[in-house]
Amino acid sequence: MQIYLPIAELSVDVFLLLGLGGAVGFLSGLFGVGGGFLITPLLIFIGVPAPVAVGTGAQQVVATSVSGVIAHWRRGTVDVPMGLVLTAGGLIGSGLGSWAFAALRKAGTVDVVVAISYVIFLGTIGSLMFIESAGALWKQRRGTARRRKLHQHSWLHGLPLKLRFRKSRLYISALVPMSVGFLIGILSAIMGVGGGFILVPAMIYILGMPTQVVIGTSLFQVIFVTSSVTFLQAWANQSVDILLAMILLVGSVVGAQFGTRVSVRLKGEQLRVLLSLLVLAVGIRLAADLLAAPAELYSLSLIGGRP
């Protein structure tokens, strides 16, 4: 069944969109990533113009995250103070990132910087996570796992403004999650994604939060970041297609619920192995795009906004 999308200005199959939404929603509920780094390229692939794919992808992720956060909330796996501190840092960082993006665009190097930083980040995070989590799984299987300390003490714990994050079982300076949020905010503004796939590993490895709490808390933060992206895209570029988002949403909210169910049954290590494989796969795909000679060297875009 074909439907015409008023902002994307093309006609697509409704069931294809429902399927896309469902698959991305499932991964989103499973890993606590917004799914923006999956849905945006998929929309572009089926012919949606890039700005519409970014804006609409963000709107879709808002809904998936809300649905996911509520499901996690009932299981008590959302650390609200932690989420708020991360969000505060993230908003400041994305403001600075947008400014950096504009400066890079002026210098004409934005494409190279974005492409390379994407591949480096995905590759590094994916490999590190895979090595760590696969190692942990292996040790468990052999039964040689020693009980890990809840966390290691380091200079990070000497910083002022200490707060107790009960759900995360952490007593650390608010400056640490604030800086993590800030750095990811910069990156997500430059790379044009919500940052969930960087945030989740950062919360696990830098902050030392338990994996189960990480997912709910990450989704909580993603709601705010993607809401601001949705608003800015609609306001500045008129590139949010509500009809497209609503069809994707019907698929993705259902998918997110299933993803969340599966996620509470899996062990933290198993989730981390799967997420690391997903991150690596996206990284390899992007690297291949950069290295392989493209079939079409030229691309067209409208100047001065959409008609």
């Binding site: 008023p6 709107q59 809300v66 494409d111 608003f231 609609a234 008129q238 000679a293 875009s301 409208l302």
Partner: protein
């Protein structure tokens, strides 16, 4: 557009064969292409009658062109082993849609000067670069970029040359059918009908038509364009609402 019309008028006055009083009458099957939610493309019929005055082989060429746009063309190049967008050029007045139909292949009609003057045929479509002082003429050093515009637009189904033939029904009546793909841009379009006699331009006509969204599609589009801030907030509200509803439904299930 008025300049083009004036040029066309002058051309007709100056055309040597204008002394012959062929008459040309044309019309379109529709003046409005309405885009609804089930729109998957549409077709339009351009038809008319020619009453020849004197001997000679008559040819009809129909050009259907869409709203002019400013577009940027980017070219990927290999920098340190990585393929990235490098060079970019801006073009002015590029038609969003361009299709030609003719009774014979354009090369056989053999009216090169008239084709160039009226931009009849994809090869004669002028693609002008944007510069500091408005649009410029075609630069000789950038043919690759212009070829890329034609190739990419052909690939999107928005350019076609010649798309379909103009067929004569009996001695005087002719018809040509054009297909609009589902990604046809909205705006005002123009059908230009040219009559040639042995390669000389002897008559021309033009009709306007509009492609516009209707119903829900139009309402969403207009809201997004006219009230962008409100639209953005509504988009967030809808997303939160649907996400919340889904979570509630699934708890009960």
């Amino acid at each position: 557009m008025t300049r083009r019309a004036a040029l066309l008028f002058c051309a007709l006055l100056l055309a040597p064969a204008a002394a012959r009083a062929d008459s040309l009458m044309t019309d379109l099957s529709q003046r409005l292409i309405a885009i609804t939610s089930s729109f998957t493309g549409s077709s339009i019929l351009v038809f008319g009658a020619v009453v020849p005055d004197g001997p000679g082989k008559r040819d009809v060429v129909v050009v259907l062109r869409g709203p002019d746009q400013s577009i940027r063309v980017r070219k990927k190049e290999r920098v340190f082993g990585i393929w990235v967008n490098n060079e970019a050029l801006a073009f002015e007045g590029v038609p969003a849609f361009y299709a030609v139909a003719a009774t014979r292949p354009l090369a056989e009609i053999d009216a090169g000067a008239d084709f160039a003057r009226h931009q009849i045929g994809l090869d004669d479509l002028k693609l002008r670069e944007r510069s500091a002082n408005g649009a410029e003429e075609e630069k000789p050093e950038t043919p690759d970029f212009r070829a890329a515009i034609r190739r990419l637009k052909l690939g999107q189904g928005l350019y076609a040359s010649p798309m379909s033939p103009v067929t004569f029904v009996g001695p005087n009546l002719f018809r040509a059918e054009f297909q609009f793909p589902s990604n046809v841009p909205v705006g005002s379009y123009k059908a230009e009908i040219y009559l040639f006699s042995d390669g000389d331009l002897v008559g021309a006509n033009s009709s306007a038509l509009f492609v516009d969204k209707t119903g829900l599609e139009r309402w969403i589009y207009k809201s997004a364009m006219n009230y962008p801030a409100l639209y953005g907030l509504a988009a967030i509200a809808i997303a939160v609402g649907i996400g919340w509803t889904a979570a509630l439904v699934f708890r009960k299930a």
